[in-house]
Subunit: 362 residues, 2 copies
Amino acid sequence: MKHTRTEKILENCGELDAIVFINGTEPCLDMGFFYVTELVEGLFEGGLAIVYPDGSLEVVTSLLEAESAKKGDFEISVFKTKAERKEITKEKISKFKKIGINAQGLLHKNYLDLKELFPDIEFVDISESVSKARMIKDDKEIDTLKSACKMVSEVAEDIVDFIKEGILEYEVAAELSYMMQKKGAVGPSFDTISSFGKNTAEPHYTAGDAVLKKGEFVLLDFGAKYRRYCSDITRTFVCGGGSDKHKDMYETILKAQKLALDKIKPGVNGKDVHQAVSDFIEGTKYKGLFTHSTGHSIGLSVHDGPAVTKEVDVILEENMVFTVEPGIYISGYGGVRIEDDVRVTKDGVEILTWGTKELIEV
Amino acid sequence: MKHTRTEKILENCGELDAIVFINGTEPCLDMGFFYVTELVEGLFEGGLAIVYPDGSLEVVTSLLEAESAKKGDFEISVFKTKAERKEITKEKISKFKKIGINAQGLLHKNYLDLKELFPDIEFVDISESVSKARMIKDDKEIDTLKSACKMVSEVAEDIVDFIKEGILEYEVAAELSYMMQKKGAVGPSFDTISSFGKNTAEPHYTAGDAVLKKGEFVLLDFGAKYRRYCSDITRTFVCGGGSDKHKDMYETILKAQKLALDKIKPGVNGKDVHQAVSDFIEGTKYKGLFTHSTGHSIGLSVHDGPAVTKEVDVILEENMVFTVEPGIYISGYGGVRIEDDVRVTKDGVEILTWGTKELIEV
């Protein structure tokens, strides 16, 4: 087997005897563990993935997940008890002097336990290398992401027929999940945001029991999880005839998104993409109302690495995948956000999610 | 305001200048942060909750979640940039000498950043106290859990009519999510397990595209997330007429579950509940096939504290809430698991999920 993913990580790590991924407990699972193992089923709480300098891989798993682990292309060791887990861990790594750990996915408690067990081993945070490797998607990842993006794009188109005056936020959220899962998604990639009216001004709202009324924005932000990979899309509609204010807010954000899409290509700094969007919005009457980043890397996690934002230097490279999602929010009134997922291509972007960009009236 | 939750945590912490919860990044959110803040909406990535020795609370949040944070009953400080976050953090905690941290919910990277910023502060892991406080649910938590349990119990009953020979695993999973969300769940509390036939032998399978055939087990393990609290239920059915083998496996697990339910009451060690279940199954022809714990604490996380298992001492107390879920798994054939959520009462258990326990044929 070729160990391309582990080799990508090791490339930037300096000399190490091994890298150890220690998976946490739900909801704190280390996506680094799943990145290297490529395991699609199972939680693997307390599981270990040990990467050796030649790129080869070994997995230590509880008996509970042994059946799922067999689908991987690596040696596995199975423990039945915590004591056995400790023994196997000792057997595997006590001989090492310097071990890489993925601090961005590792629970501090698991680190403390490790340090107690191996006080003489030097543990080095190699999470930057993991993040860097994960940022550039391989062919298999891109295919999977495309499938996840296709699901939400189709659902975003179909949901329009379902939304009517009088419907409740959580009914729309339910329908979104249903439609995604009927297309093969394992589930939503995050808690679906289905917000109406003034709730649309709260960017990380989920879904309550507000009733849709004429003249209100409908903001839906949802994603499909497919073979552990996440898509993430936002569409904003208006119920009944949109007012000039609705249309103006929407047009502003549509322009802002286009501006970002036009700017993205290899070699550009994500920070500059954000700056362009921010400068544009700051030059409109919506100054100060764009309160988040322009986007974020997406993959095994919804927030899968650096954001496209003011303080983050990220030089775009081919096969990075980001969301592009400017938004503006007027407290007590409502908000607009338009979000698509894009892959950086050799000379621009491939938009992985699709759908009409007109302000749709429902 | 009374700060009962923070006081419950502080009780077991020893002397501290403060406790700081630092929330991670999706999917690694610290449920301790949400336990003390009681915030129902929002992700609060990078947010801080600072608990003072008098039990009072302050929250530091990004502008993105400021709107959501206002719903909490505490002072908030808002940052727009990472630099501002650092400044506010310094202002709030640099004066302290000894700070408690929740290592079981804290990303090691966030700890490293904290330690770099405050090399002279002593950080003490107080996660055992957080876990202990969270184990005993207060009235509000019990009400919320009951709502989440009601949703899945009703869905478990209704899904029976939907499952027919020829249906696909993921279609059933989609229907389960839909039904839960139509009842007001924010979403599933974990990736729904919808498995047929030999896939039912894989305890942490999710849902694939297997087609249901006569003579196969159907194992559904799903939960509703409601106001951040999780329920978790498993039902096993059989398609067409169940064979003697199906019935025998099912009856064995039903007996095992009853045995556990009869044993649970305050003062009993969870370990002994597990031992009784394990001894019983080991005495049947299914020896060696019960590969996981009898249950786990449930609350803000699906796996919310100690498991009911061999190596864990947990003395049951009133208002602890656990799953009770024995199972047996025959590789290549199939598995049976029956799971309910229960509250420990003054002298026994209250079963929060319900439904018939006969082996239902679909």
